[in-house]
């Protein structure tokens, strides 16, 4: 499958995105003109060798970092030049993260880890609603019985399920997944992937970085990155990306 930037209902639109890491002595071009559209309900996997720019692309998609140049829109809003505070707000409202190393906070209980995104909301959410939404997410990942535990009391698979619950609790428009099975054995990895597929089937938009071709194939669209560029189906860099559809803000 090749990229299809002109589909309706585009959630994510990137055009001409570059990222250059500059030091005193050299510049590293991590991304060299990425054009990408991800639509609501898509499940996109991003593959490629080490150093090809996968993690950089995922960071830009999640507004964890800002591009050097190019346009990036989420639901029609330009987000490439946001302040740190505005970016945090968009991340909190629109994006959910699932990391390879789970990144749960050891000092907090499972419940509090999941509730954290809701507590960072700009407009405060009543405690009862937080409780209800956290419980719902715990049920989704089948971890209700562990809500009072600390992350270090859980197995790797369980921690990743908690991380998924935390990513889902804010009802994000896009779920960004970075090597979700990287720290899991195959059984737990399969279970997590099954859970992600199930979420996608229920309408969650997913963008996943993975090394594992088996899991990459489970995505509806597969993107290959090499030297900071997206390759076409034949393995050649896309030279003439089609214009992006204009989306009303």
């Amino acid at each position: 499958m090749t990229q299809t930037p002109n589909l309706p209902q585009a959630t994510i639109s990137m055009r001409g995105i570059t990222k250059v890491f500059a030091t005193d002595e050299m510049e590293t071009h991590a991304l060299r003109g990425i054009d990408l559209a991800i639509d609501t309900g898509d499940f996109v996997s991003i593959c490629g060798p080490s150093g090809c720019g996968k993690s950089t692309l995922l960071s830009l998609l999640g507004l964890l970092d800002m591009p050097t140049s190019g346009s990036y829109q989420i639901e029609g809003h330009e987000v490439s030049g946001l302040s740190l505070s505005e970016a945090a707000y968009i991340r909190n409202e629109k994006i959910g993260f699932i990391f390879q190393s789970f990144n749960l906070i050891d000092e907090l209980t499972v419940f509090d880890n999941i509730a954290l995104p809701l507590r960072y909301r700009r407009s405060s959410i009543p405690k009862a609603e937080i409780d209800a939404r956290v419980q719902a997410c715990l049920q989704k990942v089948d971890m209700t019985h562990r809500s009072g535990h600390r992350p270090n009391q859980l197995s790797g698979g369980q921690q990743q399920r908690i991380a998924i619950a935390r990513a889902l609790v804010g009802n994000p428009a896009l779920l960004l997944v970075d090597e979700p099975t990287g720290n899991l054995d195959s059984k737990n990895g399969d279970a997590v992937m099954e859970m992600l597929c199930e979420l996608n089937r229920k309408g969650t938009t997913l963008c996943m970085v993975t090394h594992d071709p088996r899991y990459a194939d489970m995505a509806g669209r597969k993107l290959h990155l090499l030297d900071g560029r997206i390759l076409d189906a034949d393995g050649a860099p896309l030279q003439h990306p089609q214009p992006l559809r204009q989306v009303a803000p």
Binding site: L64, L84, A88
Partner: protein
Amino acid sequence: MRFWKALATACYSLSKARGYAATVVLTLGLTLGTLIAMFNLNYQVLTAPLPYADEDQLIVGSTTWLEKDGRMLYQRLLPVHLFRQQYAQPSAYVSEQALFGFSYVGMTLRDLAHSPEIQVAYTTPGYMRMFQMPMLHGRAFSAEEDLGSHRAVVILSEHIWRQHYNADPAMLERSVQIGNQSFKVIGIAAATFEEPALTGPARRNNVWLPWDYAPDSNARPGDISGAHLYLAKLRRAQDRLAFEQELRPIVAQRFEEEIAAIPAQAGRTVRFQADPLRLALEGDSSKATLSMLIGSVLLLLIAAANITNLLISRAVRQQRTMSIQAALGAQRHHLIGTVLAELSWLLTLALSLALLVAEGAYALLWQYAGTTLPHLHTLGLNGPTLGFAVLVCLLLALGFAWLISRHINYRALQQQLQSSGKGSGIQVSRRIRQALIGAQVALAALLLICSAQVLLQSLQQLGQQTGFSSSDRYQVTIDNVTPAPDENLPLAERRAALRQQKEELMQVRDILAQHPTVQSVSVSNYPPISFDGYYGSANFLTAPERTDRLLFSRAVYTDQFYLPLFGIALLQGRNFTAQEISNQAPVLIINQTLAKQIQPDGQVLGHKLYSTDGQLTFEIIGISADHYLPDLWSPTETGRSYLTRNLGNSANLQVQLKPGMQADKTVINQAMAQVSAHYRAANIYSIEQNIDRLLLRNVLTAGVTSIVVLLSFLLATIGIYGVLSYSMQLRRFELGVRMAIGARPGTILRQLLLENLKPVLAGLILAALLLMALWLGLQQTVFSVQLSAGGFVLPLLLIMLLTLLTTLLSVWGIIRKPALHALQGQ
């Protein structure tokens, strides 16, 4: 060899971390330097040997004057008449003795045209033997110049000899004119003479005369003088108390006999005390020096806590290097050796800086406290101080190394390279980090609150209006050689002679008042604040028969120009008239404080007061405003009285010049010469400078406490920042996660602020408990402390500001960058 290699490596490593090295060296150098200076000061004041042989056998004898009910009226006074008798028949405990007095009126070298003012000491030959006065030329006093010999000889200081007599060796056997007497010079005291500062560190005598020429040398029975002391060398140091016990009843009984005929003195007594020389020299200065030492120890403790944080933070940053060293086979002691090598450099540099800081502190102390603290001229690098400094450095080095070694997890370091760098071989638990912050805050708050209390009190005193005008006003001390009236003359004739002196000085006043540079002139015994802090006194009775109720006042014997010249406000009544001054009318002006002592409402205009012998009756014609001049003798305003009477021993002119005019001794001497050859201007003192001199202690206190407040705030900031910064390094990834899931920079800051407030509040509670303990402790001592709300609020605000600042600074590097940086550990 390995150690030198380690030192070389440490030097290179520190050169790559210059900011860190500079912070440690500066923090430690400043605080250690302060501690070294304070240690040396206390060493010199409290324990350093005095430059006199058998110092522990030297004593200073004086008496304390007690009221009937045992209340102390005055201390360090000497009934001179009694001790003249004692000198003739010394105790068996005494191997050497001397009477010592000093001039407290203006005196000059009259043989010189410019008649320079001199400070004169009066003594007996034993003084020179006890204190081993070294002679540059000539000889010291011998038995021929002892009590009663009336031999007019003098010893000059080398300073005076060089300054005024061009170091002329022929001065020996020549004469100098002091007062109305010519004295033959028999010796020049070498500049190396360490004169015991028996009259305070501010005074250095220039001339030594035989005791017989002291103004009070022939004092009558019952006269007590504050300008004399009985000095003795005991046969054995342990005889001091026995000697004191021997003399105490004898002195008390003789005094009682001598005052029996004076009704106002009835029932009073004196208590002899023989103080060790060291105690007499240090006075109450040990309170101040010990307080400063304690403050500097606290500062060093805060600094040590800070440096511990910095060292741990550095060790955390160096953990990759340590991991590689561990992987290559380095043992635990190798890693600690590396830390010790760096510490050696840092502490050596800090010690060098500290010694420089200490030298600077000595210079500052000499400049600003030279007249209030003893022995400051002896401060300088010496063996005990250097030993102390090295010892403190060694203890710090060992303490730091031990603390760091406790936090190096050697096993974790070994495994670190194998586990892709996750985890840390050097970690300080959250509890220890919070304890460090709490301890920092407690120490800083304690120091800040104590310093702020003292600082605000000093500033309040400095900012207070004195209650009189001082600009362009000058005190002219007069060298008066008018022969004293014969003691055998009737009282009326003696008074008439003294009245003649006052009239002559009023003539000088009137001549001077015509001079174009002069605004106003007054004759009086003292200005509101004298250059040497001395004042006249007069005691009154409220009724002739009420000898049990004595009113003490600082008395000014003056004329009708005094109050207007100093702009002293009259709240009730009126000033003296020229007629009253001329007739020496028995009228009196008193200040508010004295008025309230007479009657609580202070409405005493027209009331009468009586002299202590009941022979004179004074009518109160005016009530003046109080001054605000707290001094060593009275921390609050005391009673003051203004009288038309004769001047007594001390005669001054108070001169107000027109704005921009300079005081000129020649002009004054010319005016005096027109009236009498008996008068010469000894010196001219600016009243403003007199006030500054009085307030110097407050200025010094305010300066020192301001430095302590700033230093403790700075050190607490560095220290707490160090801990928080280290915490942030450990929590960088966690904060990255929080930011990744939507925490805004403000949210992170708020959360950290709330977290940091917990140990800060714990530290403040600990400080409050320590303060309470300190307060209860102070209640058991003679220290008195006035507390002010500002002294608590200001430190609390500073601590809160500090928490906010350090939290912001420590997390600033994380929250001002995209979340990815924190997640990647950048």
